[in-house]
Amino acid sequence: MMRLKTLFWRLVALAILAAGSYATLVRFTRGLGAATNLSDRAPWGLWIGFDVLCGVGLAAGGFAITTAVYVLHLEHWRPVVRPAVLTAFLGYLLVVVALIYDLGRPWNIWRPVVLWNPRSVMFEVAWCVMLYTTVLAVEFAPVAFDRLGWERASRACRAAIVPLAAAGCILSTLHQSSLGSLYLILPGKLHPLWYSPWLPWLFWLSALAAGLAMVIFESGMSSRAFGRALEMDILDQLAKAMVVLLGLFLFLRFWDLGSRGQLAAALRFGGPGGQQTVMFWLETVLLAAPALLALPAGVRRDPRRLFTLATAVVGGFLVHRLNVSITALEAHAGIRYFPSWMEVAVTLMLVTLGVWAFRLAVLHLPVFESARRKRATRTQACYA
């Protein structure tokens, strides 16, 4: 039975890789027009809306956890540091790969290094992503160095961990919020349910909440895949932090809608903006319901229910980012954008490659090591 299920997922992954490879071929031999449903009316699609905006946001768990552990001395969260940093690192690498697909002239991707336009939000995002990916690489490097036996390199990386974590926190705060600032230049185009001067802070808060949800989600997944025990006391605290962040996000969201006089629009389901209203409530319910349901400690300490709630938050976050990047622009553009199957195939392929890389790393590097060691010492202490 178990083997049948594994075989099924392997076949699915193979099909995704085959479709993604074909789409890659089309993209790089016949251009964006042949591979995507992008147009002058919808210049950004799934690859920006999902791969970049969601990918970067969901990787926010990396900086949240490292800041908590190394800057705020929350030592007992240490067991989730490595998996969170690994996810963030792989996430950012995939974002860069997705950008190479999406950019019309990807051979110029390095230009922002030397050509500076400090008035451009995109320029700021480019620099922060570049620097933060480097920070993540150095943060994760000791795990690989230890395995290779490069003790001095490993020690050098470890010595720098506190300033690195602080730099990661600042760089992440900047580009997570700047992904929202990108849309500030579209006051006439972005639907008023989403256009807000608070977009940068909304993006930062939602990325933090979703980043923590992702750490919980991933702990659940990897405990199932690798037969690991869950660190329920840590996950409970992460969930608490997630609830607070979601509360702040929703408060700011509705306070902002009220102050811009858009609350009535949020209740108008009929007419031309009806579809936007439905999408607004889908994102809001997916983020608000888990926040409310996770209030009782009993729910947070039940692995199955906590996993479900974290999944819902990740889902709500995805809907929010896709709403900003796609739904909110459709009314102005006057067209509906829906990704082509090739866009979907590339995105699925990148996600599959990410999961596969994570699995490889866990199998060959001591990603969950610290947890195991801690449990081992605790067991020894019991016997002593």
């Binding site: 950004w44 451009s120 900047l174 579209l186």
Partner: protein
């Protein structure tokens, strides 16, 4: 600073401007009423109460262009003479400029493997050698006039004063998004010409500029806060550890 005054009430739809534009920029024969990556200006017709109105659409060459502020590498630039020019050799193709343009002007070469942005060049080379734009030079009716922007505004006001019944009492582009180099006079509402009426009068780069200007103080404050928290939490932990040790010490004694 040069400008272009487009007077929809004077345009007869002869299309000489389209042909001149294509020839000047080495583009294919103009066709259709939609801008493309290979057609930088289009001629359209609307039927109003006063009969047919012909008008052109092209890049507005904003005084403080959203596209130029959006471009991460500065591939789009506003030159002091007026044109917003594009340099494909450094363009990454991120298409933030297309998103940012409030007039939905820039077009992309979607089917090319080396795609370029397509939009009016304002005949930048002709202007810098003291000439007029190709479209204005060939216009037989004075519907397209090229000149100093200030002089064109004066001219537009004079036309509005001389024949108030002929126009809506407004010069489009004088103040929209901080002003544009291309100015419109029209007998029909500008909305009908596809020119958005809901634009702020403030230049769009200021909307992102406000967020970006918060970054340096934010970095400073965050740096200090993180350093402070690191010291504080570390100290607290140290104190807690030593307090835990003391009772234990006493107990062992």
């Amino acid at each position: 600073m040069r400008g272009l005054l487009l007077d929809a009430s004077r345009c007869v739809g002869c299309g000489a401007c389209l042909a001149a534009c294509a020839e000047q920029n080495g583009l294919p024969e103009p066709c259709g009423t939609e801008l493309t990556a290979r057609q930088f200006t289009v001629l359209r017709k609307v039927v109003g109460r006063k009969g047919e109105v012909y008008y052109r659409r092209l890049c507005m060459h904003c005084l403080d262009p959203a596209c130029a502020s959006a471009c991460p590498v500065g591939a789009l630039k506003k030159t002091p003479e007026g044109p917003v020019v594009y340099d494909a050799s450094i363009c990454m193709g991120c298409r933030y400029c297309i998103q940012a343009c409030p007039f939905d002007v820039p077009r992309y070469d979607w089917n090319s493997l080396t795609p370029r942005l397509g939009k009016c060049t304002f005949c930048a080379q002709r202007l810098s050698s003291g000439g007029l734009t190709a479209c204005a030079e060939v216009c037989p009716t004075g519907a397209s006039t090229c000149g100093e922007r200030e002089a064109l505004l004066k001219e537009a006001r004079a036309r509005l004063a001389a024949e108030p019944g002929r126009y809506l009492p407004r010069i489009y582009g004088e103040h929209e998004v901080g002003g544009t180099s291309v100015l419109y006079l029209s007998p029909v509402p500008f909305r009908v010409l596809g020119l958005p009426e809901n634009l702020p009068l403030e230049p769009l780069p200021q909307f992102t500029g406000r967020a970006l200007s918060q970054i340096p103080p934010l970095v400073g404050a965050a740096g200090l806060a993180l350093a402070g928290l690191w010291w504080l939490t570390g100290r607290k932990q140290e104190v807690a550890r030593s307090e835990n040790r003391k009772p234990a010490d006493r107990g062992s004694r």
